[in-house]
Amino acid sequence: MKRRSVLAGLAGAAASWTLPAAAQDEFGSKDLVAAAEKEGSLTYYTANFAEVEQEVIKAFNKRFPKIKVAMVRAPGGQIIQRIKTEAAAGKLAADVVNHSDRGLMKDLEDLFQDYTPPNAADYRPDALVSPKFWPGVTLGWALAYNTELVKNPPKTWMDLTKEEYKGKKIGQVVGPSGGTTWTRVMFERQVLGEDYWKKQAALQVALYPSGAPLSDALVRGEVSIAPLLYNIIYTKIVEGAPAEAIFAPEGVPIIPYADGITKTSKSPNAAKLFMNWRLSKEGQTFAIKSLGNITSLKEPPLFPKGWDPKIIKVWVPKFDEFEKLRDGWLEEWNKTYGYRQ
């Protein structure tokens, strides 16, 4: 018994010491891994949910247990403010930044270093806005509903303008809440029609400041139906919440994040390895399977449940329009939905 456990320990140690050659190429050269492990830690700024990113770090540490990842999490606008202020004072602590708003990150491009992952060619060109930023996270919008409350669930985006869902049954995240919501708002108007907002607003939609509280409200039954980022509701469905989510045939608006390594990074090798792993097939597969993400890889390693690649198409906003239309359209959206900004 004792000997067996010693052997098992040895085997485990051996496994963590020697990666298969293919895996090494996937995540970076032997030298990079050695240099990263020597640095031993990195600081990771994220606008994503702390718990989700905690899982990412755990999975990364399964592969690279010697690199400690310290995380700072704040809502999108606040993390940008911190990055700007810290950088100006010469005290930017972040090695890697993970942010959903490509527009805001593009403004900070100067703070980031050039970086290309080993599998750069596998990524969709329309998901890239700068050679410095890469979509480590890609999220997609789904239609979620409470299975205990909705007898006739919606099947398309257009269903969310139906009279039968009138009276605060539908919940929506407010337009100006961030890059992810702005993508959905743009999709609704450009793909579903100029009058889509008006039709939906007439149903007396319940407004929420961000997606996570809305997903909780859906599970509690405060609202019955809500367009939600799939990852926010996915983990709850897996845990057995009375909810379900579908992808609609008109398209799935996706949000490729803009993640980058800072120029002032004190652990540039660890940062690179962390980025490489997150962008690798393994990292993306983990994110799809465990977190409910979508991917910006041209050929997704797998699809979420209920996603038929023959029918469901992703929709990526044109980046110049993403920037140009934003203020004017959001103002109109606020007016249409009676949201005060």
Binding site: R82, A89, K91, L207
Partner: protein, 587 residues
């Protein structure tokens, strides 16, 4: 021997006089410098932000183009107006309710023979220790129009009535019941100190007890009522958690939630937030000024020179009615929310179809607690919070002692300025203070940023007024004669403070440090911008859970936080009792 002691006394006075000539200005100067660093400098940064569209750290002062335009634009924005009037309505309504409850409570506790008065008095202060976000979350679980537990119960009983706490009425109610203790604290001491002979005169003249209450008693303590209500109004005005949980679902913005949104939207509008914060500060400043005016009046109106016992009214069988009232309040403000949090913390999903579903044992378990403690940030945040709490309590306690002593016990020139500077932070809302501190202190050399100390400094600055106020009362109770006796017998100022004032004021010092400790554990707004991965605190993590949309984990972590607070309060209570006893021995 007499000659020797006279010479010694002269010598002592002489040697004390020289440093005192320079000592006082130096001392006042030092205090002013500390307060300028802690209060004025961040405040200037905030003004800078409100009056321009630049970030002082990023753009530098060179790009500062002062203009009122930006500020005026904010003033003209109708959404700001709406948030402003909502805030006035919610806090105004809440204050009226708080006065009604607080006054009733102090009357019950001080002036009647209601049973279990001491228990009622102690328990009625509990709401003060509940973080606002926790209160808001608990009441959203109880009072949501669609899924609220109260409505589920009403439905089960067969009552058609439904409550909706996602409304202005809900905000007012929750504000009122949670901030009633502020009014209670002021009015109960006033009632205790009041000369009962006027009431007796009223009753001799034929007025009923009820008439006497409203025509003599309450008017007599009117200054205390006003002071308590102004304070509770000001505190409500700066609260984020309650309107965030209850107002947001109904699209009701108040100034604090509006400021938070401005900083969370993308792109964030910090300068607008700073301008709204200045607006909030102006309202608060006017009220604080009004409160101080009222407080000056208070000492003339209610404190009489002769010794007396407050009258205790024999209520007869009605005392069970007042007892019932007190229990009802405690049930509503302590039992119900705790029950709601407990259900949310132990239930896997908070979807409760009907009343019977509440008792489905399968739906309950330790999942959320397991997940909360599986998160490495949880223990880190608890540890950090305790560290920050201790540092804040020690630093803040020492500073408050220095300020309180200088302001209330000496006549040094400049003490009025110290008093003023140490009152200003009351008027600064916590959410924006974080940005101001970030802007102000990140550029300082010496690696303050990113440490526990910057959080502690921010808390010390933010809570100076509360701590000084808590301490000043205990200074006032120490008679000047005792200090004078020490001076005459040849002790220097510092030695007098160390041997006379400090031991006598020790219960007050411990109490104010406890207060500081509790406040710093609850504090969210100023932590949000100053924490880093290594210095994350409980309040930030709680907001993370809340914003992450997991009500179960939010509730579980709230209970953990409450339990820690309860243990710590018990501990400090025990400590301060020890202090009180030993100082009683000294006295």
């Amino acid at each position: 021997m007499t000659a020797t002691s006279t010479a010694a006394l002269a010598e002592a006075t002489d040697s004390a006089a020289v440093p005192r000539r320079w000592g006082a200005p130096l001392w006042v100067g030092a205090l002013l410098i500390v307060l300028t660093f802690l209060v004025i400098y961040p405040l200037l940064m905030l003004l800078f932000g409100a009056l321009s569209d630049s970030n002082p750290v990023v753009d530098g002062f060179g790009k500062f183009r002062p203009s009122l335009d930006h500020f005026l634009k904010v003033l003209a924005n109708e959404n700001v107006h709406l948030a402003f009037f909502n805030a006035l309505a919610a806090c105004g309504g809440g204050t009226i309710l708080a006065v009604a409850i607080g006054l009733a409570f102090s009357w019950i506790v001080v002036r009647t023979n209601t049973p279990a008065k001491r228990f009622i008095a102690g328990a009625s202060l509990i709401p003060l220790f509940v973080p606002p976000l926790v209160a808001g979350v608990a009441w959203s679980i109880l009072g949501s129009p669609k899924t609220g537990l109260l409505n589920t119960v009403f439905k089960w009983i067969g009552i058609d009535f439904r409550v909706d706490f996602y409304s202005m009425a809900g905000l007012i109610l929750v504000f009122g019941i949670y901030y009633a203790p502020y009014v209670y604290m002021f009015t109960s001491s006033a009632l205790q100190n009041m000369d009962p002979s006027l009431e007796e005169a009223s009753e001799v003249a034929g007025a009923s007890a009820f008439t006497t209450l409203f025509t003599v008693t309450f008017p007599l303590i009117a200054p205390a009522i006003l002071a308590g209500s102004l304070l509770s109004f000001v505190v409500m005005l700066g609260i984020y958690g309650v309107p965030a949980a209850l107002g947001a679902p109904a699209n009701i913005n108040v100034l604090t939630t509006y400021i938070f949104q401005l900083t969370a939207w993308s792109p964030p509008l910090y300068n607008t937030a700073a301008a709204v914060a200045i607006l909030l500060m102006m309202v608060t400043a006017i009220l604080v000024w009004a409160q101080q005016r009222v407080l000056i009046g208070k000492s003339f109106a209610t404190v009489a020179g002769k010794a007396f016992r407050p009258r205790s009214l024999n209520l007869g069988p009605w005392r069970w009615f007042t007892f019932g009232l007190a229990l009802t309040y405690l049930f509503v403000v302590v039992v119900l929310p705790t029950l709601a949090l407990t259900i949310a913390a132990f239930r896997k999903f908070l979807f409760i179809k009907d009343f019977d579903a509440l008792f489905d044992a399968k739906a309950y378990g330790w999942f959320h607690f397991a997940q909360v403690f599986d998160n490495p940030l949880t223990m880190l945040s608890i540890w950090n919070t305790l560290k920050v709490g201790v540092i804040t309590a020690l630093l803040g306690g020492a500073l408050a002692f220095a300020i309180g002593y200088t302001v209330t016990r000496t006549h040094v020139p400049g003490r009025k300025a110290i008093d003023l500077l140490s009152t200003i932070p009351v008027a600064i809302p916590g959410l924006v203070v974080g940005v101001a501190y970030l802007w102000a202190w990140i550029g300082l050399p010496g690696g303050l940023y990113g440490t526990i100390w910057i959080l502690a400094l921010a808390f010390v600055a933010r809570f100076i007024p509360d701590t000084v106020k808590a301490l000043s009362t205990s200074f006032m109770q120490i008679h000047k004669e005792l200090e004078e006796a020490a001076w005459i017998s040849g002790r220097g100022l510092l030695s007098t403070i160390a041997t006379i004032v400090l031991p006598l004021a020790r219960p007050g010092v411990v109490a104010s440090m406890t207060l500081l400790f509790v406040l710093s554990i609850r504090e969210l707004g100023s932590s949000l911008f100053l924490y880093t991965s290594d210095t994350t605190v409980m309040a930030v993590l709680l907001l993370d859970y809340y914003e992450g949309g997991n009500i179960g984990k939010t509730a579980a972590f709230s209970l953990v936080q409450t339990a820690i607070l309860a243990v710590l309060l018990g501990l400090t209570n025990w400590l301060s009792r020890g202090a009180a006893q030993s100082s009683a021995r000294v006295g």
